[in-house]
Assembly symmetry: none
Amino acid sequence: MITLSYQSGQPIYEQIVEQIKIHVMKGYLKSGDVIPSVRKMALEIGVTPNTVAKAYQELERQKVIVTIPGKGTFIAEKTKVSVDKDKLKKIEGIIKGQLVELKLMGYSCEDAVKLVKKIYENL
Amino acid sequence: MITLSYQSGQPIYEQIVEQIKIHVMKGYLKSGDVIPSVRKMALEIGVTPNTVAKAYQELERQKVIVTIPGKGTFIAEKTKVSVDKDKLKKIEGIIKGQLVELKLMGYSCEDAVKLVKKIYENL
Amino acid sequence: MITLSYQSGQPIYEQIVEQIKIHVMKGYLKSGDVIPSVRKMALEIGVTPNTVAKAYQELERQKVIVTIPGKGTFIAEKTKVSVDKDKLKKIEGIIKGQLVELKLMGYSCEDAVKLVKKIYENL
Amino acid sequence: MITLSYQSGQPIYEQIVEQIKIHVMKGYLKSGDVIPSVRKMALEIGVTPNTVAKAYQELERQKVIVTIPGKGTFIAEKTKVSVDKDKLKKIEGIIKGQLVELKLMGYSCEDAVKLVKKIYENL
DNA sequence: GTGGTCTAGACCACG
DNA sequence: GTGGTCTAGACCACT
C-alpha cells in the first residue's frame, strides 16, 4: 500500500501522507473506506507507530481522513479544497527552486513542461 | 541583492545559494564578477558570517563561484552542468509532491503546466 | 576509532573523513554498518559535534555514508567512484609538491616509488 | 619563469617556492645566479610584493637562496639536505591522503606507482 | 582585508 | 534519541 524511500530526504510521515492522498485521488481509496490502524500500518511498512500517527494527524488536519474513536479511521467525504493563497505561494516557491536546478542542467522551458506533464499524468 | 524569508522554512544558506544562482542565470552576475565578502554579505543580510560561508562553499562545490582565499570570491566561468541522475530523481520527487497538492486543489494538467511556464519564464 | 593529530595542520574534519574512508577501504566498516552519532563521536574524540557533522556531511556528499535524519548514519553501498578530472589534477599537484621535497632530500625515482608502494600496501 | 594557478588551492607563495626549487633542481638556476628582486618578481607574475617576500623568506629559511642586503638575491650553494624525520613523516602523511583518494578511484598500486613515476620524471 | 576552521551552545524537525 | 541549522565569537593562514 505504501512504499517508502529512506534516501529521498523527504520525511517518512510526509511520504505516507502523500501516498494516501494519491491513492484517494486515483480512486483506490474512496469515501468511507477504512484504512489500517496506526499500529497495523506501522507494522506493515516497518516504521514506528509514532511516525504513522503523525501522518494520520496531518491527513486529518487536511480533512482527507476522519478517525472515529473506538471504530477506526476512514477516508473522509470529498470536500472541495479551497485554494489557499499562502499554500499556493509556498508551492510556487518550491517549484521555482527545482526549475532553477533544471534550467542550470540545460533544461529548456519545453523540457521542463514535458517533465511536469509526465509526472502529472503518472499521478 | 539577497532577500531572505524566515518563514518559508527553507534554510537561509539555501536561499542564498538559490538567489545567487538566479542572479547568475539572469545575467546580473557574470563570469569574473566579484561578490561581496562573507563578512560584508553577512552584515548586509543580517546573518552570521558562518551561514554565508556555508552558502559560498556550496556554490563553490557546484562550480558557480570560485573563491581565492585572501582575495575574494568571484563568479566562475560558465561550465556545462552535467546531468546527475540522482539529483534529477530527487527533483522529480519534489515536483511530484507539489503536483499532488495542486491536483487536489483542482489544478488540471494544463493548469499546472501553465503555472510552471509562468515560473520558468520569470526565471 | 579515530585518532586526531592537532599538529599536522590538517583540518580535524578532514582527518575524520580520511580515516573513515580508510576504515571502509580496509573492510573494518561494511555497507549497512552504523557509525556513531555525531554527538557520540564528538564526545569520543573530544571535538564539538559541529566538526563531526561537517565531516559526516562531506562523507555523505562523497556517497561513503548515508544518513537518515532521526535514525542514524550508515555506511553506504559501495559505488564505483567516477574519476573526476579536476580532482585527479589536484591530487597530481599535491603529489608533485611532495616529490619535489623528496627529490631534494636525495630520493631517487626508485626511492620514491618504494615509499609510495609501502604506503599504498599499508592502506 | 613562474606560472601560477589560482584554482589549485595551493598557496601562491608555496607555488613560487616550489617552482624555484624545481628550477634549481633542473639546473635552470645555478649557485650564484641572481633572481629578480621581490618587486620585479611581483610585477612579472602579478602578485603583491608581500607574497613574493614571503616566498623568498621561506626559500632563505630552506637555504635555497641567500639575500645579500644591497646587492640582491642569489641561488645558494648546494648543500646536502639532511633528511628530517619529522618532515618525512609529514610528507608520507600527505601522500597517504592522496593515495586513499586514488585507491577509492580504482587505482591499483601499480597505477599509483605509474602516476608517481610519471610525475617524478617530469620534475 | 580575505576565506577556512573550530568552539560552545542553542533550537528545530524527525523517528 | 537522531541529524540539520543557526548564532556568536575566536584564531589562523593567505594576499
